[in-house]
Amino acid sequence: MNDIVLQLTNIRKSYGAIHALKGVHFTLRRGEIHALAGENGAGKSTLMKIIDGIVQPDSGQIVLNGDARQFRSPLEAQRAGIGFVHQEIALCPQVSVAQNICMSRINTEGGFLVNYREVRQVARAAIEQLADIDVNTLVGDLSISNQQVVEIAKALTLDCQILILDEPTAALTDRETEALFAIMHRLKAQGMSIIFISHRMAEIFEHCDHVTVLRDGEYVMDTPVADTTPEDVVNALVGRQMTHLYPDKLTGDPTAGPVILRAEAVADEGRVRGVDLTLHKGEILGLAGLIGAGRSELVQTLCGLRRRTAGRVELNGAAIHPRDYADAIRSGLVYLSEDRKGEGVFLNMPIAQNVSALRLDKVTTPFGMLDRRAEMDQARTHGAELRLKAGSLRDDVSSLSGGNQQKVAIAKLLTANPAVMMLDEPTRGVDVGAKAEIHALLRDFAEQGVGIIVVSSELPEVIGLCDRVLVMAEGRISGELSGDQMTEENIMALASGLALTG
């Protein structure tokens, strides 16, 4: 079988007590897009890191183009023609987009002096296939979404035979996602083999040829996509019957309930330009839009994380002017950042301490001392609610898989019993099962009368979860949709600023 590019057999890897991989097989053929599916913590990223030489397996065999290989560093992997788009963005914030994209290029084939003109050209060529980002800006100034775009463009500049994409679409909106798939198909046509990790069945079944499923570090199955169904894959990776992915919606008019949160002509230093919105008791309100629409900025402004320059905000009828986020939390507004690693979790602190960070007062004794037992219990409860996969709640968050880190960030919100929850990309990188859990949880909260606003770039989620969706474009609300008006077409139309057709 000489069309097999890469063959991994019986790969094992454990971190102390945690067995990340328990004898996994993986086969990649020339010119295919091979999906890798699995719950959070199943071992997908670890497996990829092993291929790329970042992590060394405890045992197992790697065969590349017929001969056994063992990469000791990413450099070796790179030399062997392996490109890797990491799940956790790994870019140099103080360095320009262009120089980030050309990092390996400058490192390996760069001459004595760097040719910046060429660097910029290459970078521009790579990134304009995906989005329109100035290659001279510093990566540190980009939003997560755009950083993800840069991360992908970076891999496109390498001429590799194997391209690994670890949840590239998690942080993207449909527009970039489509662009990405177009590129993937082109590369595939050129004979490149692509490993594509995603928690979105739709993407897998539309674009992939093969799918390999892992569960808890164990190999479950590897079949041509044609021979299977989303349901089977989901059941395979969750290891049980998944009934329905989204909870039932509100029956009747979502705006029937009393208004919890009302915003009028809210604006910030320029990214949010006069937004009106009302959030009703019982409903889940969606915020859709393209990258840069200013959705994050809007909700951040509402809860005092960004300075509100104009407009008025009412919570349960009373006007509020949170001085800062701490203030907002006190009055019942909480926010989940879209930037998990940067703003969501304390990577080098224990899970339990991460969970308690938002409401330390809840684990504080009358004498201002911490009640560590309470802290642990709290973390245990919410961890369970979210099916958090972790060794010990005392481990640092850095030891968790991407999705599980996201769960920790969400657990943090659950500790505050808020009046309004604003979640920015709440299920970014979260697996199907957990996603369903989170959705169900949100629905429960909504029913208990907590106001829920969900910013999401994943349209199926918006449509499946929300009762009503506001679409943003250039910092303004470009339209509102509810009921069966909520279709991807309508949302995209409004997002790109067009009027609704028909």
């Binding site: 994380l305 800062d324 986020y325 701490a326 907002a328 939390i329 926010y335 950042s337 930037d339 940067g342 703003e343 969501g344 979790v345 304390f346 990577l347 080098n348 602190m349 224990p350 301490q353 960070a357 938002l358 330390l360 007062d361 504080t364 201002g368 001392m369 911490l370 560590r372 037992r373 642990m376 005392r394 640092d396 850095s398 030891s399 943090k412």
Partner: protein, 332 residues
Amino acid sequence: MSDQTMSNMTNQSGAKTSMLMRLVRMREFALIVIILALSVFMSFASPYFLTEGNLRAILLSFSTEGIVVVGMTILLIVGGIDLSVGSVMALTMAVAGKLFLVGLDPWVASLMGIGAAAMIGVVMSFFVTRVGLHYFIVSLAFLGIARGLTLVVTQGTPLSLFSLPPEFKFVGQGSLYGIPFVVILFFVIVGVADFLLRRATIFRRVYYVGSNEKAAEYSGIRVKRVKAGAIILCSTLAGLAGVIFMSRFGAAPPQFGVGMELNVIAAAVIGGAGLYGGQGSVLGAILGIALLSLVSSSLQLLDVPVFWQDGIKGGILLVAVTIDHIVHTRKA
């Protein structure tokens, strides 16, 4: 990164592990062993090491500086650093000394001296949290400014305060049950600080801010306040140390504490404080300064030729941190 993975072990008591296991898993365990080992060696090497007098001498040699180490550690945990502690200490002595000489009650004078130190902290915190300059450069500027003010106040000559009343001198020179009062005071401060840092909610915020400022902000923690608090606390403790030195030496020398900052920071770092914030413990830092003093006094005790002392001290420091590091990356 390995020290990251292991960090905050210190905050993880309540573990369902035996007392001993807990001790072993402590971030500070290796240091404790090193210090014990060195002590055992010394007690064989020199008949005088285990004498009450010598232990007293060693304790005295780091107790006062140790108070500054406490402040520095907390500041390092929050992600800051303060190079001005030596100068601030000298300034406190100068101010308190001067006020005493012009007739103020020594206690009041001392309070005002410490107040001056705190003020320096306030100004520094303004430049760090409001203007947005880095701790390093701000405190470096104040290393100069505070020293300058000290020179102005003292007019370049050590203020002689031999007329300090005995009850005030007691602070720096007296003993209770044979234990120098300074040492007692020091251990009280350390005990309280260590306990609070592990247990108190306000100090937990220090770790959050140090570990990830943005995440702290997105958890509703008033980051600027926490930082400012740490800066001011550090300066204030430096001031307190200054008052104690003043009471011990009965003088306020203008050049006092020059270059002290490195020793203090070193102690904290040896004790496990990172320079990127989020890690460190008072206990560790104190073990750090204890180790440093133990080494220098041992070299003195063994009459190591004076020209060799610096080098050997540096070498031992290096060996100690290496062992410490290896031990707890193994555990990770």
